[in-house]
Amino acid sequence: MLQKITIAVALIGFAVSVTGGSAAAQVKVGAVLSASGPASFLGDPERKTLDMYVEDINSKGGINGQKLQLVIYDDGGDANAARTFATRLVEEDKIVAMVGGTTTGTTLAMIPVFEDAQVPFISLAGAVQIIEPVRKWVFKTPHTDRMACEKIFDDLKRRKLTTVALISGTDAFGKSMRDQCVAVAPKAGITIAHEESYGPGDSDMTPQLTKIKATAGIQAVVCAGFSQAPAIVTRNYRQLGIEYPLYQSHGVASKQFISLAGAAANGVRLPAAALLVASKLPESDRQKSVVVGYQTMFETKTGQPVSTFGGHAYDGLMILVDAAKRAGSFDSGKLRDEIERTHNYVGTGGVVNMSPSDHLGLDLSAFRLLEIKDGDWTMIPDSPS
């Protein structure tokens, strides 16, 4: 008897608390982000970006005469939680579109929910599988890991370095990028002569780097990982006195990498969005005003250095907003169609041109090649390739 009452009370209380808060006639945009947990390095700037820009948009009167309400849930990096929140957004909160999905795992888990509910979903995750094969309702803003590999390999070829070693993290980001690099290497004329891996929580990679150092014929090393581990790889790299060039991935695209790696970071090259070198771009660069504007807003409001992950969230939101303006309404179907027609949108990640067969819209020129000098980013000029 008592158990029955306890359970009933708990469930009713839950029902009330969840549906509490009357919904005004606002347009709801959903976001499921990994603001805590192992991917919070990515999710936290994303969350802050979405919060500040929705507030900014609303303060200027909203879109199509309506204010936006951002419904954010934190999945903590867990795919199951992400899926539950996705269901909640669609069934309970009745969102018109979704910008989120910090990691590939959470994105892939949520895709069926949005496809079924026919709600456009702009993902903020990196893997190429999200848009390949193209799904009707799924888009993404970050450059793919395949593009990162291609950009790195391009630069290697320019420097006449063709035999490389690859060291990658066993986490999702590292593994996915490693797979892509292995896949595109032959076409790019690069030989991956040796591979190593490390756990994302490891604190010392000298054994792996020692083995790389011992392999004859290596001309450069490519490291595929994100968060702090690549910084440790970089430090170990210098500690062991390895002379040939080290390339990192866009997973380290934030000033934190430089501060953690210290002096060891000098000379490291990586592909990254123009956002990182906003102040160094020439005035003629198409992205200049957008990235400077975003950097100023983000750094003023949060006091933290800007990161490209927040930039992807900005792009996702702005693409959605532009699509809404063009559609003149917030109907999910019309939004989706207009998102797909995004053309010449200048964002922090690059210039976006989407199409029914391309739900990312970026090409290789959206990535800039950067080198770290004296503790800061510098651009390596692209030669036509």
Binding site: F41, D44, G199, P207, Q208, T210, A214, A231, R235, Q239
Partner: protein
């Protein structure tokens, strides 16, 4: 090229042994002998670097276990607190040495609080209950750290700079030497304390038989509380010393606790020497596994060690107490 059976573990086992030979086309030993020695030395240094941390965590475990029969899963969080508090006090403008001292004091207070609020009230609790309590404490401390600090990684400046020392073709960081020396120093101090002072005798008495110790007038609550406090201090010192090498973040504690526990199992639960030896050995096993086998299963080494020790020789290398088995 390398064989690909589709299973990473199998691949690495097959390819690692013949990798070097068929890269250079020269028989392994002849040309590579001096280089192989340098590699071995480098792996050893790597193992010592992480092993020293495990050793300090293990010593903290052992102290608490000896005094109270509690396996303290929150031990890793003390290491985390040592590093993170120092870093954040540093950001707030406190000079690093003072910040480090403060961090150790704060961690000590947390350790004491853990005992007073978490362990002592759980009277007559079974070993399992106590484990769950300490796991809960570990999750709680990590959750609080996530909120108070932030979710990013941080570093501290090394004591003697970051230029590596080159020995025999391999390089070791000065900070690693600092950590190793500190570990030895701490164990020596601890041994002196336990063996030569009156309070130390009280600790021995409490761990031998709590009831009897109470009967002869020892305030076992104070003693056990002190052990928790000392253990926390050791962990925090380890955290401060090792952050320049391994970086720190709010969630480094969990894995460290597990590995520290593996070290304790290996060395024999209840033995301080065993804790240090176990920690260093575990670090070496991991480094050699990464160097000679496959790096992707490096983390698995600690857990395989735990299981192997538990099945084959539960008392560990230096263990003295009997193991409860059916």
């Amino acid at each position: 090229m390398d064989h690909d059976s589709g299973f990473p573990l199998v691949n690495s086992l097959v390819n690692s042994s013949n990798g070097l030979a068929h890269q250079t086309g020269v028989p392994f030993d002849r040309r590579r002998a001096p280089a192989a020695m340098a590699d071995f030395l480098q792996f050893t240094f790597s193992g010592l670097t992480v092993g020293a941390v495990y050793a300090l965590v293990a010593v903290g475990f052992t102290l608490i276990y000896n005094a109270s029969d509690v396996v303290n899963f929150a031990q890793g969080e003390f290491v985390m607190l040592g590093g993170m508090v120092t870093v954040f006090l540093g950001y707030a403008g406190v000079p690093v040495p003072l910040a480090a001292v403060l961090a150790v004091l704060i961690a000590t207070a947390v350790g004491l609080a853990l005992y007073r609020l978490g362990i002592a009230p759980a009277r007559e609790a079974s070993a399992v209950t106590l484990i769950i309590i300490t796991i809960g404490a570990s999750i709680f401390l990590r959750g609080v750290a996530e909120i108070i600090f932030d979710k990013r990684f941080h570093s501290l400046p090394a004591l003697f700079g970051s230029d590596p020392i080159r020995i025999g073709g391999a390089s070791i960081l000065p900070q690693t030497v600092v950590v190793l020396a500190s570990a030895l120093l701490i164990v020596c101090l601890l041994w002196t304390f336990i063996d030569r002072t009156l309070y130390g005798k009280a600790v021995i008495a409490t761990s031998a038989n709590r009831m009897a110790a109470t009967l002869v007038g020892i305030n076992t609550r104070t003693i056990v509380g002190a052990c928790f406090a000392i253990s926390a201090a050791i962990g925090a010192i380890a955290g401060v010393l090792v952050t320049p090498i391994t970086l720190t973040s709010y969630n480094v504690g969990t894995l460290l606790a597990l590995k520290g526990f593996a070290a304790v199992m290996l060395g024999g639960i209840g033995s301080a020497i065993g804790a240090v030896v176990g920690g260093v050995l575990l670090g070496l096993f991991e480094a050699f596994a990464a160097g000679y086998l496959s790096a992707s299963y490096k983390d698995a080494v600690a857990f395989v060690v735990i299981l192997a020790v538990l099945f084959a020789m539960p008392q560990g290398l230096f263990g003295k107490t009997t193991v409860e088995r059916v």
